[in-house]
């Protein structure tokens, strides 16, 4: 996998794929006009019928296919060969390193860039799902003027005119964006705004961390977001910060965090992670210790912790910060304080609070612990969250006061995220000049005078600087599919000096980035540039901000909030749905939430006790209202174990404009139900509850009332039963709990590395028949480290994009017919306080004695000579016997002809993998196409296969690198070592089906030697 060096022309030429042509598996372009271009699936069906037809006619001729070669072949482009280009993910401001797998000028597969210092080869679900956004047939194909189609020339003319007027009238010009990590775009925005006397750039984050930056402004005299270094943290105490899921830079944090989660037999050490949170977050589900707290209790606890550490550090404060707190909390805090104090400089305390006061105390704590410059880097700070809520608030007031002459919005849906402010849209409508750069008609674009759609990130030149001093490039891998224009180009035009995006970026790099280069390396800019293109990123010097010494005076005591009997609401982002810009992505919509396993909806999470009191069942539609006459929304309820009583949690980024497009996704038949809820959209927008308070946007508010309605909407969850404990009424005595996910504690592990194993009442050595199936060449296998795996679900989308897995829609998921080849089983285990959550990726285990193979009457699933369980789609007749007989229930059946009729969308299909027909079984193939490609490559060079050269899709992009795949025959291979790990076990080993997939036991960093189960 080499990031190929391509100069700009090549990139251009990569896009010479003729329009309206799509590519078949066989590597030729097939004009969709002339040939009745059969997709693979359709073909299968045709084949099924043609047999009978031909029996009569005796001569079946496939439709004429035309093969269109390049007139001029791009340099290095070999037909049908996968080529990788280093780039940067623009899915969110975290800006992870990206490897774009392209085939014949079509970007197909997003992968992590292994050399990237932040993401370290990982990539989250959102990044994986970029391509389907590119080939989205409902993306804006051209620009709009007052909602009508228009031409660039004319629109530019009008905009320039409008801007001139505003300049003359000295009205205010505002550009609103989400955090811009791209120095080039930032520069062009600035230079654009320079031409106006009265202009500003407001940064609005859908979920902002403004408080953290403000706090640092107060405590360190510089408004920065620290670069958190989990790789250096031995003790992590997080107050609600979901850093493994959605907080700031999840992939990077996951990689660093999981690197410290591997206790070895010789050195049984791992980090200690405590999570204090009110809802059940992905991070909480992975913590060694998780304490459910009420939001109102967060401030006091932080303050108390600060007090204790201050005392320990001998830094006297004139008055204690914290009010009196409960006895139990007192013990908890002192315990934490001790743990932290012992790990001075190697600990990390985080908080997701939007209260500046709380954040200043967090800074104080970290300062007391001497964590700055060790686990928090503010000399090379993070630029991944720039949101400034004060300015946003100011902007809203300006709009209300009609002081905005021109409003230009990019990368964010102003009106969606500020839905809390009534009649704002009306007032925005009165602004003389409103321009949106959106790909689609979102809330703002709907009323904007002009919509000048930006390129999709895979079509455009850009760059990103997630951490100051680390700059990566975004290079296009396909020529723009529609009549769009890069933001920088538009701005350039409107500032009067038109320039191509490529030029803009290159110029900026030559002028601004190149000078910052490290002394090493060539002094030629072109070399520098080529190097950057090849690697995808460069590390350059960054001028450190002038940091003041810690300012204790800003610390204020926290007042004890009295617990109100009505509910507190917590607004959050789903791992799968970072912000509203991804709401049109069917892959992400159907990605089960890592914790709740629910797809296609947002919902109100309620604690089990509250639900019981109010008599609420899963799926009952409830009404959440802010106070008496505040705004209200209606959503189905979900009972969430581990959530604190009196807390409601609702996900943002749902109920977005245009999601009604999904109403008819999935098979349509007499009993089918639409994927959208009553409002005709997917989910409901909860941003109406976001409000300004103390200069920040608050996502946690008290004073909500909950009322049950008569309606019910079944939530499409991929898991019906959530526990390893069997239902008490049917649990056999002595076997109330299934040891599917084995776990132990660090204390126990230190004593005995094999602690937590199931005591064996069976032998896997005894065989009914002689082993007469030698596997001399390779025996492929996989090992998954459950201690590293966080359940982030990146692998699910990686697999979906690699293996052409269809999106089946709400109704099919509700019927337990989701098609994902890899699912992540999530089990709740235990009660309130000692509630454990286990995540277990489960895919075809490629059993040596596979039960599915024996029962297939037509040999459609058999064993390969390399130990893989093969599923042959074109042979399958669909008896489903194999699925019934699979103890892991990992086989997926094509109940219907799943949607593939969107020609443009079909460009996302991987030609290496058959698109399955209706009525056939499918399942994880361990990315056989990748194995095959690797073998062929090695063979044609006459070399043996290097361990690690072949990676499965799930393995490649796993941010925690929890998945190891390889040849178990090779004694030097990584997997061979993993198999000897004392934590290794196999699920349902007692069945003696001999799975090729093993798991490594979970070890939780706890002192008690046994935890229940």
């Amino acid at each position: 996998m080499n990031a190929m060096n391509q100069n700009s022309d090549d990139h251009r030429s990569l896009g010479t794929e003729p329009r309206g042509l799509r590519r078949l598996s066989n590597g030729y372009f097939v004009s969709t006009e002339e040939a009745p271009a059969l997709s693979r699936r359709e073909f299968l069906e045709a084949a099924g019928f043609s047999l009978s037809l031909a029996a009569m006619s005796g001569c079946g001729r496939a439709p004429v296919e035309s093969a269109l070669p390049f007139p001029i072949q791009p340099v290095g482009a070999i037909p049908g060969r996968l080529q990788y280009y280093a780039s940067t993910c623009a899915g969110c401001p975290a800006a992870c390193g990206l490897l774009i797998g392209t085939r014949d000028g079509r970007p197909l597969k997003m992968e992590g860039l292994p050399e990237h210092p932040l993401s370290q080869g990982g990539l989250c679900a959102v990044g994986q799902a970029l391509p389907i956004g590119l080939y989205d047939s409902q993306r804006l194909i051209g620009l709009l003027r007052a909602g009508k189609k228009a031409e660039w020339a004319q629109v530019d003319e009008e905009i320039l005119q409008g801007l001139r007027q505003i300049k003359d009238q000295e009205q205010q010009v505002v550009i609103v964006t989400s955090t811009i990590t791209s120095p080039t775009i930032q520069a062009s925005i600035d230079s654009f705004l320079d031409q106006f006397q009265n202009a500003k750039h407001v940064v609005l984050d859908a979920v902002s961390s403004s408080a953290i930056l403000d706090a640092h402004e107060q405590t360190h005299a510089v408004r920065v977001l620290p670069h958190y270094r989990f790789d250096r943290a031995e003790v992590v105490v997080s107050f609600g910060a979901d850093f493994l899921g959605t907080w700031i830079s999840p992939v990077e944090f996951t990689a660093d965090w999981s690197a410290r989660r591997v206790p070895r037999e010789q050195s049984p050490e791992m980090s200690y992670h405590v999570q204090l949170e009110s809802r059940m977050s992905l991070t909480g589900s992975n913590a060694d210790r998780r304490i459910a707290i009420h939001p109102s209790n967060q401030g006091p606890l932080v303050a108390r912790l600060a007090d204790k550490l201050a005392a320990a550090a001998g830094r006297q404060l004139d008055e204690p910060l914290a009010p009196r707190i409960a006895e139990s909390d007192e013990n908890l805090v002192s315990e934490l304080a001790e743990r932290l104090w012992n790990a001075r400089g190697k600990s990390l305390v985080l908080c997701d609070s939007q209260e500046v006061g709380v954040q200043t105390q967090i800074n104080f704590i970290n300062d007391l612990l001497g964590n700055y410059e060790h686990t928090l880097d503010i000399e090379r700070p993070s630029l991944q969250r720039q949101g400034n809520d004060r300015e946003v608030q100011q902007l809203v007031e300006d709009i209300r006061a009609k002081q905005v002459g021109a409003l230009i919005v990019a990368e964010v849906d102003l009106l969606y995220d500020l839905a809390g402010h009534e009649s704002l849209s009306a007032e925005v409508g009165e602004i003389p000049l409103t321009i949106s750069f959106s790909h689609r008609v979102d809330e703002f674009a709907a009323i904007a005078k002009f919509v000048c759609p930006d390129h999709h990130t895979l079509e455009s030149w850009s760059d990103a600087e997630p951490i100051s001093g680390l700059i990566s490039l975004i290079q296009p891998t396909i020529r723009p599919l529609s009549n769009t224009r890069a933001i920088v180009e538009s701005l350039a035009v409107w500032s009067g000096q038109p320039q191509a995006a490529y030029e803009v970026v290159k110029d900026h790099w030559e002028k601004k980035i190149f000078p910052r280069r490290r002394s090493t390396g060539s002094s030629q800019f072109l070399d520098f540039w080529e190097q950057a293109l090849r690697d995808g990123f460069v590390e350059v010097s960054s001028e450190a901000p002038t940091i003041g010494r810690f300012e204790t005076s800003v610390l204020e005591p926290v007042a004890q909030e009295r617990m109100s009997e009505n509910f507190s609401l917590v607004l959050y982002n789903k791992v799968s749905m970072l912000d509203s810009r991804h709401s049109h992505n069917p892959w992400l919509q159907e990605l089960p939430d890592p914790v709740t396993k629910v797809t296609w909806d947002n919902y109100v999470s309620i604690s089990p006790r509250d639900a019981a009191e109010l008599g609420i069942q899963d799926g009952d539609v409830v009404k959440v209202s802010a106070g008496k006459n505040g705004s209200r929304i209606e959503l189905p309820a979900l009972i969430q174990p581990g959530q604190h009583d009196g807390v409601l949690a609702v996900a943002l980024a749902y109920g977005c404009k245009g999601t009604d497009r999904f109403a008819k996704i999935g098979p349509q038949w007499i009993e089918a139900r639409p994927s959208v809820s009553e409002n005709g959209l997917v989910g409901v927008n909860a941003a109406v509850f976001v409000s300004f308070h103390g200069g920040t946007q608050r996502y946690t508010r008290a004073g909500f009332s909950l009322a049950k309605t008569s309606r019910h909407r079944e939530l499409a969850a991929t898991q019906e039963y959530n526990s390893l404990e069997l239902p008490p009424e049917v649990a056999p005595h002595g076997a109330e709990r299934r040891k599917i996910v084995q776990h132990t504690t660090l204390a126990a592990f230190t004593k005995d590395a094999e602690a937590g194993a199931v005591e064996e009442h069976f032998s896997t050595e005894t065989q009914l028949w002689p082993e007469d199936h030698p596997k001399p060449d390779h025996t492929w296998g996989m090992v998954i480290d459950l201690n590293k795996c966080t359940g982030c679900s990146a692998c699910v989308i990686a697999c979906q994009s690699e293996n052409n897995i269809p999106v089946v829609g709400y109704d099919e998921v509700r019927r337990q017919r989701e098609m994902h080849w890899i699912r992540i089983d999530r089990y709740y285990d235990g009660e309130d306080e000692d509630l454990n959550v286990a995540h277990q990726p489960m895919m075809c285990q490629h059993c040596g004695n596979a039960p599915c193979e024996t029962v297939c009457p037509v040999l459609a699933t058999v064993h390969s000579s390399e130990g893989l369980n093969e599923q042959v789609y074109n042979r399958c007749v669909g008896t489903r016997y194999c699925a019934n007989n699979c103890p892991y229930k990992v086989r997926r059946f094509n109940w219907f002809k799943y949607p593939y009729d969107d020609t443009l969308q079909n460009l996302v299909l991987n030609p290496e993998v058959t698109v399955r027909s209706r009525g056939v079984m499918e399942k994880c193939s361990m990315c056989f196409q990748r194995i095959e490609a690797g073998k062929i490559e090695a063979r044609s060079q006459g070399l043996p296969i290097v361990d690690g050269a072949i990676q499965t899709a799930c393995q490649q992009s796993c941010p925690a690198s929890a998945i190891v795949f390889g040849d178990m025959n090779d004694p030097q291979s990584e997997i061979h070592l993993a198999l000897e790990n004392p934590r290794r076990y196999r699920v349902l080993e007692e069945l003696n089906v001999r799975p090729a997939v093993s798991y490594l036991r979970v070890v939780r960093n706890r002192d008690e030697e046994s935890q229940h189960g």
Binding site: F49, L51, S52, P667, W669, I670, E671, Q719, E720, Y721, N722, S723, P727, V730, A731, P732, G734, A735, R738, I740, E812, Q816, R817, E818, D825, R826, Y827, M842, P851, T854, V855, C856, P857, V858, L859, R875, C876, V877, G878, T879, R880, Y881, A883, N884, N885, P887, Y888, K889, R892, F893, N894, F896, K897, S917, R918, G919, V920, M921, L988, V993
Partner: protein, 479 residues
């Protein structure tokens, strides 16, 4: 004709009164029928058009059939997704119906073959229609494995024929393939058995009907049967052979069907008790269905003299015993689960009795084990209305038995994460109804166009003991 009748009746009547044996062995066929009467009575329905009862029954079953046909067409056109199945419960109504109908198909051959081997004279009145029932039931059964496929148009891949795939054959290790062979063999052999039995009767009809289409058809199919004793001699041998072959076949077929489950590894399926358990169940349900049909036919076709209380009672006894065996099997399953110490096995059975599908389980137990116990009472065995009711109940119970075995075992197996519930769709229900429609339509047509009772065999059992005595004496003085 009249003369011959007088000849027999006059000398016999006084002896009959005197003879003690007469009371010992009550006649199977009442009303002192002569062979001629038998021919006349059995052929009667063929001569005049059926009554209102027949027509109403036929129209009802035809409607059901049409409903089913629509459902199946829609399902094949749209996809198996129109059934309520999911990734966890891959089989439900489809295979339930399949096993149910195969089970029904067992009593036919059992009654003709096994009882024939055991020289049970009472079988003669019921075997013909029982065999017909078998054929129809097996056809109904055979339907489901085909339509339950994702791609039914490729069903022929189940057969090992030479092909251009380098010859890619089939998987003889798969129980489903064993099924294909078992069911088709069973269908063919039963058909042959039925037809061979039919030949002499066809000849009878041929000879007694005037020249016309019926004579031509029966003439064609009676293969030129002329009642020669030499042919009868060989015929008897072959019939005996077929009976001998059919008997193990009956057992093998349901044994193999049970292996679909027994050789799988799903707890609740993976058990060695299944073959005998399933065979008993099959015979049980089969007898119930035979009773249902017989009691209907008896009324509709006016065969009171041929299907007497003796037949009904005999079948009731057989049914009762089968019911007890099935009950024993249920008990054994639980015992083994408990005794084995296999937690998965134990869970499955607890889940059956107390889990989400407990209602189905208890329906099954009460219908198959508890209620049939009433048949211990002689009075109830002889009460046709009650017996009819019981037979229906048992059929319901046996359907649920298969449903319970399939669905409850599947819906909660090894990994709790993949547990799922199951709710049938309207299409599935319609398909089930359709299969009943097909079954009854075919049977009614059979009643209309074929001799419902094996004339040649019934005539064989007409003679009563005392006439043997008389003729021995006659032969004596002739010597």
């Amino acid at each position: 004709m009249a003369k011959s009748k007088k000849q027999r009746t006059t000398p016999v009547a006084p002896v009959q009164a005197a003879d003690p044996l007469a009371t010992l062995r009550p006649q199977l066929i009442t009303g002192g029928k002569t062979p001629a009467d038998v021919t006349r009575d059995i052929c009667a329905p063929l001569d005049h058009s059926p009554g209102a009862l027949w027509w109403s029954a036929f129209s009802v079953s035809m409607t059901a059939l049409i409903v089913g046909t629509i459902a199946v067409t829609y399902q094949i056109a749209t996809g198996i997704g129109t059934w309520g199945l999911n990734r966890t419960v891959g089989w439900a109504f489809d295979i339930t119906n399949f096993v149910f109908w195969v089970g029904i198909g067992h009593a036919g051959t059992l009654i003709s073959a096994v009882l024939f081997l055991f020289r049970q004279k009472w079988r003669t009145s019921v075997n013909r229609s029982a065999e017909a029932m078998t054929l129809i039931a097996v056809v109904c059964a055979g339907l489901f494995p085909v339509i339950h496929m994702g791609r039914p148009w490729l069903a022929f891949w189940m057969f090992p024929y030479p092909n251009t795939r380098g010859s890619l054959w089939v998987n003889f290790k798969s129980p489903l393939l064993w099924d294909v062979f078992a069911i088709s063999t069973y269908l063919l052999i039963s058909a042959v058995f039925w037809y061979v039995g039919l030949i002499p009767d066809l000849a009878t009809i041929r000879d007694k009907s005037k020249p016309g289409w019926r004579r031509r058809i029966t003439g064609f199919f009676s293969l030129g049967w002329n009642g020669s004793a030499r042919t009868w001699h060989r015929y008897e041998t072959v019939y005996m052979l077929l009976a001998g072959l059919a008997t193990p076949l009956v057992f093998s077929v349901h044994t193999i069907v049970s292996m679909d489950f027994a050789t799988a590894m799903i707890p609740g399926w993976h058990t060695t008790i299944f073959p005998p358990y399933f065979v008993a169940g099959a015979i049980f349900s089969g007898l119930a269905m035979v009773l249902t049909l017989m009691l209907i036919a008896r009324k509709v076709m006016h065969l009171e003299d041929y299907i007497t209380v003796l037949h009904i009672e005999a079948m009731c006894k057989l049914m009762l015993s089968m019911g007890c065996i099935v009950g024993l099997a249920y008990g054994t399953e639980f015992f083994i689960a408990a005794y084995s110490g296999n937690p998965y096995e134990q869970f499955v059975f607890l889940n059956r009795a107390l889990g989400p599908f407990s209602w189905a389980y208890w329906t099954m137990v009460s219908c198959n084990v508890l209620i049939p116990q009433l048949l211990w009472l002689r009075s109830l065995r002889r009460n046709f209305a009650f017996v009819f009711l019981i037979s229906i109940v048992v059929n319901i119970g046996m359907w649920f038995e298969r449903f319970v075995i399939i669905v409850t075992s599947l819906h909660r197996d090894f990994l709790p994460s993949s547990w799922a519930s199951y709710v049938p769709t309207i299409v599935e229900v319609a398909t089930l109804v359709g299969s009943f429609g097909l079954f009854f339509s075919c049977f009614l047509l059979f009643c209309r166009f074929m001799p419902v009772i094996a004339m040649a065999e019934v005539k064989g059992v007409l003679k009563s003991p005392q006439r043997d005595l008389k003729h021995d004496s006659a032969r004596g003085d002739a010597a």
